[in-house]
């Protein structure tokens, strides 16, 4: 009986021809878009992770502590909630950094009689400490220390970071919405196509007493096959596009997002895509029904 059902599904697929090809391509398109968004969001997520490491607060100190005092201070700050790591920057190091930053204008630094730059602590917050609210608390804590002259440097980074996350979320929601519409349309269209091709046949099958599973299952199998083929095609296209474009995009991405490499989807992601495709196709097949028995 299974052989009969599979045979029925395959003959339907063959006969549907252009209609089936169309349904497969629609599923490919929807899954390709889904996979593309996933790829994007994975890499944006990685970029966001790297941005977070760049977020730092600078605590300018009233006077340069001795190296023992500095070590103790670092230890104390590290104990504060929301702090991931702390680094002490002495006056000399600060001037060296300034000189690097000035580059062409480094002559300015050479003309100095004494080093006017303060010593400081570079504080990298944890994920919790890098939210706008967490940062507020952390900054208050750091400012309250007696050694602190002023806290600064990293707040705009934190806001930029939060905005970046919002951007990614918005982007995801927008694309998700469009994809939702595309997927529903895919299923509806595939269903309609299959229905038109099969309505007469299904009605006659029912009239000669074919049990419901023999009327419906081939359609389900056919739909699942279409979905599977569409998903595999989508995976293949995503892979090819990634292979082709990644090397070209990487320099640009390195500059704008600070990512050295664009990673591809994991095998688990790909398997999920294939499963979604198969289910979508199957749903289309399942929804298709001939004229119901009265």
């Amino acid at each position: 009986m299974l052989a009969f059902l599979v045979g029925e599904a395959l003959r339907d697929l063959r006969r549907a021809g252009r209609v089936a090809a169309s349904a497969i391509l629609l599923i490919t398109l929807a899954l390709g878009a889904l996979g593309g968004f996933w790829l994007l969001s994975t890499n944006l997520g990685r970029a966001v992770g790297e941005w977070r490491e760049r977020v730092k607060l600078v605590v300018y100190l009233r006077r340069e502590p001795s190296s023992a005092d500095a070590a103790a201070l670092v230890e104390r700050v590290r104990g504060l909630p929301g702090v991931a790591s702390v680094r002490f920057v002495g006056k000399a190091e600060a001037l060296g950094t300034l000189r690097e930053v000035l580059g062409k204008d480094a002559a300015v630094a050479d003309q100095l009689l004494q080093n006017p730059l303060p010593a400081s602590l570079e504080v990298v917050p944890t994920a919790g400490g890098a939210t706008p609210a967490g940062a507020q608390a952390l900054i208050a804590g750091l400012a309250a220390m007696p050694e602190t002259e002023e806290v600064g440097g990293g707040v705009e980074w934190i806001e930029r970071f939060a905005r970046g996350q919002r951007l990614v979320t918005l982007f995801g929601l927008g694309l998700g919405g469009v994809l939702g519409v595309a997927a529903i349309l895919t299923v509806t269209t595939a269903t309609t196509l299959v229905l038109h091709a099969r309505r007469d046949e299904m009605e006659i099958m029912r009239l000669v007493g074919a049990p419901e599973h023999i009327v419906r299952l081939p359609l389900l199998l056919q739909g699942m096959t279409q979905g599977l083929l569409g998903a595999l095609l989508a995976v293949w296209i995503l892979f090819s596009v990634h292979l082709l474009l990644a090397p070209r995009l990487e320099p640009l991405v390195a500059e704008s997002l600070g990512l050295a490499r664009l990673t591809f989807l994991t095998p688990l992601n790909l398997a999920t895509l294939v499963v979604i495709g198969t289910l979508l196709g199957g749903l289309g097949g399942l929804l298709a029904r001939g004229r119901a028995t009265p």
Binding site: E201, I204, V208, G209
Partner: protein, 234 residues
């Protein structure tokens, strides 16, 4: 395969005050008005009436392609008003129907059309070929086995539908104008086939508008006119 109730039916079919009224826009078309009759197992009944009398409508009610507007119908012991989907399918597998418009599966050859119902019944594969060709030979179509329905003449299509109906050796054979598209010689042959099936124990119900045919059969004849059962004689 068939539910227990179907094996020993009290009557092959029983209609009680059946009405069928179609709505065409605001107009009501009474296709059947207050029809009651009974057919017992093994009978050969002819349903006679002019064009539009309600013959096809009556037959459709029997295998539940339509449901009556009012009244009760039992076929093979199954109350059609209360039957579940699986029971209707099982009932249809026990009934062979020759549709007036043949209704072959358009994407399959004549052979596949006949084989399909046998496969649906779970007939072992090795028996199928033999039984399909036996049925096609009986209606004189073995030469056209590989043709698709669109490649058949009207008379050939109707004979293919008959082959499909008899290949499964049904308990009840319903034939709607089985000879409407056939010349006299062919019609006689087809009636012989139907008589053979009946002789094998199948109850037969044949609808026709041909007075001559009804007379030839010399069987119990139900006469319909304008949806009313005028006579029940024979």
């Amino acid at each position: 395969m068939t539910p227990a109730a179907i094996i020993e039916p009290p009557a092959m079919m029983e209609l009680h005050r059946v009405w069928k009224v179609y709505s065409v826009g605001p107009v009501k078309v009474p296709a059947l008005s207050d029809v009651s009759f009974q057919v017992t197992k093994g009978e050969f009944v002819t349903l006679h009436g002019p064009s539009g009398a309600g013959k096809t409508t009556l037959l459709r009610l029997l295998y539940r392609e339509e449901i009556p507007s009012e009244g009760e119908i039992q076929v093979l012991g199954l109350d059609l008003a209360r039957a579940r989907r699986g029971e209707v399918a099982a009932l249809r597998r026990s009934i062979g129907v020759v549709f007036q418009d043949a209704r072959l599966l358009p994407g399959r050859t004549v052979y596949e059309n006949v084989a399909f119902v046998l496969r649906v019944l779970g007939t072992p594969r090795r028996e199928i070929t033999a039984r399909v060709f036996e049925a096609l030979r009986a209606v004189g179509l073995s030469a056209r086995a590989q043709a698709y329905p669109a490649q058949l003449s009207q008379g050939e299509a109707q004979r293919a539908a008959l082959a499909r109906a008899i290949a499964r050796k049904p308990l009840l054979l319903i034939a709607d104008e089985p000879t409407g598209n056939l010349d006299e010689g062919m019609a006689a042959e087809v009636l012989d086939v139907i008589r053979d099936v009946w002789a094998g124990g199948t109850t037969v119900l044949v609808a026709t508008h041909q007075k001559a045919l009804a007379r030839t059969l010399r069987r119990r004849t139900l006469t319909l006119q304008n949806g009313r059962l005028l006579k029940d004689e024979g």
